[in-house]
Symmetry: C2
Subunit: 617 residues, 2 copies
């Protein structure tokens, strides 16, 4: 077998692996590579093969997004964790005998097998050479396309009435709820809350109630004097390569009490201020009309009640906006919780994270507030400093989650696998019940080992950051072939990991990877009132993006978001699921068909090469 | 004489030259270098030596900025041009005999002499070596300062109550009125005007009146379909190194009719739309509270009536805002006017530009609208594509302006000298009459020869751009020593002449040159609703500026602006004219005293070295 065939066969198998895991969890795998895979296998591709996530449609006019009626009935099933994964049983008896209902999930041994295959593939000489060359070719090809067709693309856009970059939809695909306001907004909010609520009891310290006045006095502060400098939540030069310092920036004036008061859902005022701030951010998005955001709220897995409390906050303060879609982020801080003895082992954390949702899925009326909240949740994130190294290698010999009782955290891949395995089974159950499903959209490739990107190639619908794709041509090419969406945040990277003009965003975009722009943490990184526009503006200026480039990125952001099918049809056109120019409605996206055709032809060409390589012998 | 002495003597003389021409025209030369020059000369520096421009104070409450009463009486003088410069005579008889009143102005022969000295100096080996080394030293010294004191500076700012980057004043020191709105704003305005005024006669074509509907129909356009793409006023990749294409971007949809209708003061609707747009921009600035702008309006010198028409537009539409200060830009397009035979020679252009103001200064009541307008004008600009080369060398043998009747434009230096010479004499007269004076703030060093920067070192209070200071260490060092303000616009440069991350802004700022940030043309370059904030945000992100850096740049922008003394006291503190920490009120500027002390000590050290060099023998 020559090098070309070897590489193609490896890439072919890699794609089938991703396809398999995407289907299993109701995540997306685009039609075009699917069609090529079927062609290689000599099978017919059928449109019914498409597997899609299910998102809750926006409430019809007059409908209450918090309505707790009309939930499906209790199935009476039992959900129980075994080896870190939650299984659903008909009843307690079958649970005891571990005879789960047939919800196909990934099998650990196969998964490790697939993973080891990919680990070997990304290190394989011929595949590295082949993918490196293809990526170089993609880059040059786009440069040529640009030189030849830039003016034609622009002409198409100029002829396109009533739509331009400003009124095409863009989604902030990666933003943490706790930092979704900008620093000036937070400052103004703190000052305003003090003017109104100085005598309100807002905090309890060692059993003693404290008014806001007393709280600020205890910190030696008067809100009137506060400035963005003293607030000190903005990432500066000091945070570069210092994720630890960056995390401390979440505390206004360095005081965790203020973080608790203003940026938490659980506190003495039931997270009222945090809810108000988020609603103000949503109202700014509604005013801007064409901007959407997907704020991420935390579930820590420290306690099974977290979900109920979070849902209660969501319902109590009615934190809903048609311009927001919710995500759940799970910080990978097992070591801290274990160290303080909050959890006995890693399995317990997984149980705390997933069991309540399984239960609310089996019997929605048992926790109506949670069931309402889950309707509006679209995805899970896994988040922490990726540059922290875990000594552990994930293999079939790894301790099971219930056996993982040491203080050290398991590795990134281990975390990712168990998050994914639970989400996949959960989605099976929810799909069966006609409920919305959840995507897996972890932070990945911001720092640390390239194996993170490998684990997510197998499991994630889309990822945030992806900087380290720079380091592995094989993975970069695979992310391209499978069109795995990447939510990039160059301003965040600029403060933390990589200087702006070294950011690979432009390179990835030119090669045809499916990138979007997102803010990550406006509170820490942005200066203006419109952080997402700031992000686009700076990218446009520094990378000299054309309108067509910007509109392509904006369209990508809608595609990869948790907006419902109805909304995507409204924002992108009826055929938004179709690949190529057919899927693009320029009247809605302001994206030139010339560009769409270029992208489509280029992808088909690359996939076809692989087909030729695989079929060679 | 050794190299060090030679360099110091040259630099000393260069500083005295600038000092002389600044005084002559009531422009600023800072105290610190003045004090060192006096010390070298063995003279006593006196605070009375300070020469300052005079700006009109903002109207007191209840006062009408358009009031045409209480102008000083007619002096009965006669103003007449001789050799390109306007002289003031007691009466027609003394004019005929050329016996002007004693308003000291520059003398052409001396000026050329001074200029030739500087031309030699910037090419002189030892001076080049010396200044290059000093600049390198200044750079390293700042880097050390930063490493040692960054945290201390930040601490000072954190302790400073109620003031941060957001609420310290910043002035957009370089912005063209015709492009002062952003593209989206212009688009919205065009659509709105059509909804309201479709049947209004807005244009006359070959004697035939046209309604707005007819005008748009003749362009095959319907405003409803217009987008920022079809509007096509934004600079894209196509404008890089193409100033010609950039100028065409001033025409919305490529139609000069629309430029006439929306961005001109003179048209069938008396510039009403343009006035409205500017008032909307002003109202945004007023809402933002801490932002000011100095829009530049054109006087072409094609016709002596231009001033009257412009003043009439200003008064009719009451285009006044406390957040705006006005400047007059004179495009250097003599060749075009001469080519079309609009003017017989260059002297006529100068006369058209300056004679009306001399006359309005002598007898304000002869043209009350112009007199009102002139009260609000603070400076003159000279503007055009600097990369165009003029074959002419300015010397004593150059034809006098009245003799310059060829179609070719005179050189940059020639233009600059005659602008300056007239402004200097005009300021003498106005100062005598207790009227406000005008600064000379030309575009300089955006492209073209370094001699442009030399001419402006002699004549300009401050310049716009200054990029080419990169190319001449001697001039860069002189701009530093004399603290010549430079209004930089890196986003504009990024679209036209220099990629963002190669912009020397950061380097100049670190070395201690007095730089400010400005937008140049928001319509062409910016994306967001707050162009000046966009400019600061991008600089902060790409150059990783600290809050202290940003506040220093903001303070520089106020200092170099045409804001009146009252306003500067209000925005910067009572001692704003003093050099060093004494001149800084951190409560107003949010600029650390540590930084101020560093800048002051560093400047004194450099000036002292020169003193030592000069006094060595």
């Amino acid at each position: 077998m020559d090098d070309f065939e070897l590489a193609c066969k490896g890439l072919y198998r890699a794609l089938t692996i991703r396809e398999k895991y995407m289907r299993l969890a109701f995540q997306r795998f685009p039609d075009t590579p699917s069609q090529f895979l079927r062609k290689i296998e000599g099978e017919q591709w059928k449109p019914e093969d498409q597997v899609l996530p299910v998102f809750t449609s926006p409430p019809k006019s007059g409908e209450d997004p918090f309505c707790t009626k009309d939930f499906p009935p209790n199935l009476g099933y039992v959900a129980r964790m075994k080896d870190g994964v939650i299984y659903v049983y008909k009843d307690a008896a079958s649970a005891d005998k571990h005879q789960p209902l047939n919800h196909p999930g990934p099998d650990l041994v196969t998964f490790i097998d697939d993973m080891n295959f990919l680990i070997a593939l990304i290190a394989q000489g011929p595949t590295k050479t082949y993918t490196h060359r293809r990526l170089k070719f993609l880059m040059s090809k786009f440069n040529v396309h640009e030189m030849l067709n830039e003016m034609e693309e622009m002409k198409e856009l100029k002829k396109n009435p009533h739509r331009d970059f400003y009124n095409c939809r863009k989604v902030d695909t990666h933003i943490h709820a706790a930092a979704c306001m900008n620093q000036k907004h937070l400052l103004r909010f703190i000052k305003k809350s003090y003017r109104v609520d100085a005598d309100r009891v807002v905090h309890v310290l060692k059993g003693k109630e404290m008014t806001m006045k007393e709280l600020f006095a205890s910190l030696n502060l008067h809100p009137y004097d506060l400035t963005v400098d003293s607030l000190d939540v903005h990432a500066g030069r000091q945070t570069f390569q210092r994720f630890d310092k960056f995390n401390a920036k979440y505390n206004p004036v360095g005081a965790s009490e203020l973080r608790d008061l203003y940026m938490k859902t659980e506190n003495h005022i039931s997270g009222e201020y945090f809810a108000t701030i988020i609603k103000e951010v949503a109202s700014d998005l509604e005013d801007a009309r064409y901007q959407y955001a997907e704020p991420r709220l935390s579930i820590y897995g420290c306690n099974p009640n977290e979900w109920t409390k979070l849902a209660s906050w969501f319902n109590k303060h009615r934190v809903f906006s048609p311009h927001l879609k919710w995500m759940i982020q799970v910080p990978r801080i097992y070591d801290i919780f274990r160290g303080r003895n909050f959890v006995p082992h890693f399995g317990k954390m997984l149980e705390n994270i997933f069991l309540p949702i399984f239960q609310a899925t089996i019997d929605p009326n048992s926790n109506p507030e949670l069931s309402v909240f889950l309707k509006h949740v679209t995805a899970f994130d896994s988040v922490d400093d990726e540059s922290k190294h875990s000594g552990h290698m994930f293999s079939t010999k790894s301790p099971k989650p219930e056996e993982w009782d040491i203080v050290k955290s398991p590795s990134y891949s281990y975390w990712i696998y168990y998050m994914y395995a639970n989400i996949a089974r959960l989605n099976q159950l929810r799909k069966e019940r006609g409920m919305n499903t959840f995507q897996f959209r972890p932070h990945c490739g911001e720092a640390g080992a390239v194996t993170h990107l490998l684990a997510c190639f197998m499991t994630a619908d889309n990822i945030s950051h992806g900087l380290n794709l720079k380091k592995s041509p094989v993975l970069q090419y695979l992310y391209y072939l499978a069109q795995v969406p990447i939510a990039m945040s160059p301003l965040s990277n600029n403060s933390l990991f990589l200087e702006y003009n070294k950011n690979p965003l432009l390179e990835f975009h030119k090669k045809g990877l499916m990138v979007s722009l997102s803010t990550d943490d406006p509170m820490q990184f942005h200066y203006t009132k419109e952080p997402l526009m700031e992000e686009y503006a700076i990218a446009a200026q520094v990378f000299k993006l054309s309108t067509c480039d910007m509109c392509e990125i904006a369209r990508n952001s809608v595609l990869q978001s948790g907006l419902s099918a109805e909304e995507k049809i409204h924002f992108l056109g009826t055929n938004y699921l179709k690949d190529g120019p057919e899927g693009n409605d320029i009247r809605k996206t302001n994206l030139a068909q010339i560009r769409m055709a270029y992208r489509y032809e280029t992808l088909c060409y690359e996939l076809n090469l692989i087909r030729e390589g695989v079929m060679a012998d």
